[in-house]
Symmetry: C2
Subunit: 271 residues, 2 copies
């Protein structure tokens, strides 16, 4: 067909029942497909070879997921048209790709986890993070799906940002639940409930699983295909996202201010 | 009766249909009353002289509202019991008060507005803010309810904090919608759509009304009665509020990160 396009898209995972198409459930993928059909860009997922780079668990958000589809829809208008027809899914860049392009085959993936800071030992977590880098047996750090679990982790970085521990993980591909299981292990080490040795054993497939962190803290930050991306008119998306951001800040302020009063009550400083 | 108690309480206004009791609507006041009856602290609002310091519009949050009620419920347990029985209302301090104590009669009230920053002229807003201080005719800065509208404003302070303009207003009492109308006027001056002279005229009751800011940005920060407040076990409230705060931060991060990509797309820095 010679008209395959890849589109970078984002979604707030708390607003969907997962990313993947499922009957009778609102998912990021089903929202995108309805919009593609509604704007007349495709007739069906199958016919137009609709594919998505990464599936994310229910509750996980994505900032840089990618779909590809065969369509002759005008490139300068596709982002604005999709954003006008989607709720809670945001399309913000596109690239022409070859007919054979499959977004699941990527150079690299980048995930970020937001872990509330409750006094965890950050240097122990940083030390432990290094254990995950390189080739390991990730059998105890995934949901078994019959796949090979010997995998290579690029990097795991831990840093503190305000009340949040930010954990960035990079690899070519991840197994299901892998990031959430690694983060849970790091958190347990940070709280002194597991040792770096426990993690080392688990990475050889021995010992116990170290739990599963909540989905809501996880973002798929990017899937890298080395694409030559273009932007284009995004429609009202930017303003809507700015408003959502500002509403989130007001909610943060409310809860932060209230917490400060309970810490300091009754004599909290009246400014 | 000799057993009147005042309680400081907070609520996130986005979770209620206003503060005041209304039939068939979930309000902060009705939530509190149900909890007081459920824990056996009172038999009815009327019989136990339940009174609230400040009514807030639908969507407005409170951090330091105050109610008073006659009850012999054990003081050391009342906050924990109320927090266990309320959803989205948080009680965090109490004080013994005289039988005659009416929370509506306060020494001062403090409101804070969170106005998204979109390049407004802050020095013009600061200059304009001073116009409101002292005694003025606030007829064009309230919802008329037949009350006297000559009022005295203590202070109006404007400052920038990240993406938000924070506006703090203090007075002994406020008219209905007064803060939201003052904030809207400041915002219009900040955008150059109204002049300080327009505001000066409006404060003499002349000229046009200058609009009404959205309710969601407004917090009732405190009502000051000069009480000798005590804290006490708060139950699981603190942890719940910390979790709400962290969730709000993750939502903020999602929207902020997405905005940055649309500003910089397509070549956003892959960290």
């Amino acid at each position: 067909m010679g008209d395959r396009v890849a589109v970078k898209f984002a979604y707030d995972g708390t607003k969907f029942m997962g990313s993947q198409r499922q009957p009778h459930e609102r998912t990021a993928e089903s929202e995108l497909l309805s919009a593609l059909i509604k704007i007349g860009a495709i007739s069906s997922a199958e016919e137009n070879h609709f594919r998505v780079a990464s599936r994310t668990d229910r509750g996980v958000s994505a900032l840089g997921n990618v779909f590809a589809v065969n369509t002759s829809f005008r490139r300068q208008e596709i982002l604005g048209a999709l954003n006008a027809s989607c709720n809670d899914v945001y399309c913000y860049a596109w690239a022409e790709v070859p007919d054979t392009f499959s977004p699941r085959r990527a150079r690299g993936r980048w995930y970020r986890y937001h872990l509330p800071y409750h006094g965890q030992d950050l240097s122990a977590m940083t030390e432990c993070a290094l254990e995950f880098e390189g080739e390991h047996e990730f059998r105890l750090f995934c949901k078994p799906e019959g796949k090979v679990t010997l995998r290579t982790m690029g990097s795991v970085e831990v840093r503190l940002d305000g009340n949040m521990i930010i954990i960035d993980l990079r690899a070519r591909e991840f197994l299901r639940n892998m990031v959430r299981r690694i983060v849970s292990a790091l958190d347990q080490v940070g709280h002194g409930r597991a040792s770096v040795e426990d993690v080392r054993s688990a990475l050889q497939g021995n010992g116990r699983s170290l739990g599963l962190a909540e989905a809501e803290g996880l973002f798929l930050m990017d899937v890298d295909h080395g694409l030559d991306l273009s932007a284009g008119p995004l429609g009202p998306m930017t303003q809507m996202v700015a408003e959502e951001r500002d509403r989130a800040m007001v909610r943060w302020q409310f809860n932060q201010q209230l917490l400060e009063r309970t810490y300091l009550a009754p004599g909290f400083p009246e400014k």
